[in-house]
Symmetry: C2
Subunit: 421 residues, 2 copies
Amino acid sequence: MQAEIIIIGDEILNGTTLDTNSQFIARALEALNIEVVRRSTVKDRKEAILQGLYEAEQRAQIIITTGGLGPTKDDITKKTIAEYLNEELVMNQDVLAHVEGFFSRRKVPILEVNRLQALVPASSEVLHNDLGTAPGTWTEKNNKVFVSMPGVPYEMRHIVEERMIPKLKERMDGHHIVHRYLHTVGVGESSLAAKIAHVEDALPDYIRLAYLPNPASVKLRLTGAGENEEELLKEVMSFEHQIKDLLGEVIFGFGEDTLSSAIGKLLLEKNASVGTAESCTSGYIGQLITQTPGSSGYYSGSVVAYSYDLKEKLLGVKHDTLTKHGAVSEETIKEMAVGGIKHLDTDYVIATSGIAGPGGGMDGKPVGTVWIAVASKDRVVAQRFQFGKDRLRNIHRSGVMGLDMLRRLILNLPIKIELKS
Amino acid sequence: MQAEIIIIGDEILNGTTLDTNSQFIARALEALNIEVVRRSTVKDRKEAILQGLYEAEQRAQIIITTGGLGPTKDDITKKTIAEYLNEELVMNQDVLAHVEGFFSRRKVPILEVNRLQALVPASSEVLHNDLGTAPGTWTEKNNKVFVSMPGVPYEMRHIVEERMIPKLKERMDGHHIVHRYLHTVGVGESSLAAKIAHVEDALPDYIRLAYLPNPASVKLRLTGAGENEEELLKEVMSFEHQIKDLLGEVIFGFGEDTLSSAIGKLLLEKNASVGTAESCTSGYIGQLITQTPGSSGYYSGSVVAYSYDLKEKLLGVKHDTLTKHGAVSEETIKEMAVGGIKHLDTDYVIATSGIAGPGGGMDGKPVGTVWIAVASKDRVVAQRFQFGKDRLRNIHRSGVMGLDMLRRLILNLPIKIELKS
């Protein structure tokens, strides 16, 4: 099955608002093995919407639109979609009751424009919107499916997950999709692909492997499609095990794991705590750690020490070390990490010092030079990285590498990581 | 003039990667008064690219594509665009020299696929890519302009800003566009609109006002279009002054200012330093401050103290205060701010403590409760905010409000900010 996504709205088209809806919908469809063949953003105008729908219908069996359904808009979208589908708009009593309840619970007087939100194309099925007043709709015409949803991201997500996906699954009845995820860090897509080439070659045509890369980490996704869910899962998992065996320690997690949550689990198992002593990443690693709910159970805190003074005062780095070797050096980073253990009173510390850019490069220490150290109460390991020129990217990669070094320290794995593309 | 943007790439289409390029390009075009009439994302396949180009040419005079130009791809995009334009691909010697230099400087052996990046359509003008090896191109056919750029965001942005915009401006010769930006914080779009309604109503049709909202801040943009640049600028600036007078202290800056850079300027003027003492924002405010190049001139560092222990040890919060009032309280936040001044040895401190969510709400302190304090050597002011349930949004809004409270403290403005939508 093939799908197209049409985002309706001038504020998306002219860049006022960043469109995240089409990515969300595309991912949801891909997980069902439905191919997205085109995504478009069109103006809030009748002609543009009609043209978008027409073009999409030439290419796809599922046409999904978001946007243009708010009460303050001129209702162009709903009327236009109904016109395209050759449908009357009729008042849906369930939706009307929901809208009226929505206002009465909030003790806000309801306006006529709000009641009109309960109008839907006559033959459409309503995709109820528990989180707002604009209903989604599902309409089948000429063996094609037209889904219309509001553009507010959290309402749209709710309708996709709770209403649209179950209906699509129903439509694919007897057809099952299973996914398995493996998360890797520190090795690029092409090196991973080389290592597991013969597994990939051995995949039957109903099991696919996708590489989903981020800076410094790559997620692998195995997707199987078939009739017998149990058999399928068994088969997909056997490939998962083969990949796991081949990639070994570069895999930090499975399923919903993130590097941050994987480290959280390790720390909770050991009943150990972590803190950070950061310079060039200015708190980013603390941010990554605290993105995992429950991180207050093992994260103590961070010191961000930009100046020599604070490196000395808050982390106990020796003045001599700083003047002799500079802030971006093996000697300083080790003292920051060891000092962090003491001053943050924690079991593990990640420390960073580098030149994130865009300025600040020096002879022998160009922009992108970053020293990272990890320490426990009895060990400290430091490593120098050479990243690129982009400040935010350098900070991000430093963060990921710092977390991976901590993972390796906790697991007693070798720590010198060679970054491979 | 009207434009269309075509993003080429399966990884965008299927949602693996979030598309931020089309927003960036749309904003750049809108700033030139060029209307974007459609944005599309198409597959990395010949037929899809040809169809996308054909459809776009029916509607627009400027057709901009990004993506599909990397050395590891099958070169489908470049060949297909050349085919569509009915052009041969020829080796451009300037680009070739640039690519070869790129590899030799990095001491990496160059491959044939890399050299092939210097192939461009025969009649195209090269839009040089200083940051990578895939050149942009500008081709004029039948009075239409076709721009092709690599999809790597920072390379694309560089080509847009340094190459494409100047050429578009040239093309619009005699026709001038002037912009003025006013940056506001703490007041929502509708309240701003109400305050300046009569200025907006008085704008002639060649001057437009746009509201560009972010969480907790709104950028106002005045755009004037006309023949006489000097007259136009004078007129736009007179409206800018009227808006400035009406909005007063909620305006923190103009032009390219950000809240972070505006505070940086104030601190540099006073030769003063700032640090942060963060709990619920876990270093985010330090991150915001250090996003301004040169921030090491006034930013000392941060303490992120999650635990009671670290709040006591690193910031000198009294144990009694924590046990009696809790971490999320006026008493604690004030001690954190004052303690930060002492322990970070800095002139100003921003402190935060709250419940960012999703969990952790308490009786009387629901998720979204955040205390923020700002302190100087002789003053401390605290304020309680009630944000929503979204963790990342709460952290962001806390950061913006913290920076604004600091701005108000430095400028001796009233600090109690009422958030208005």
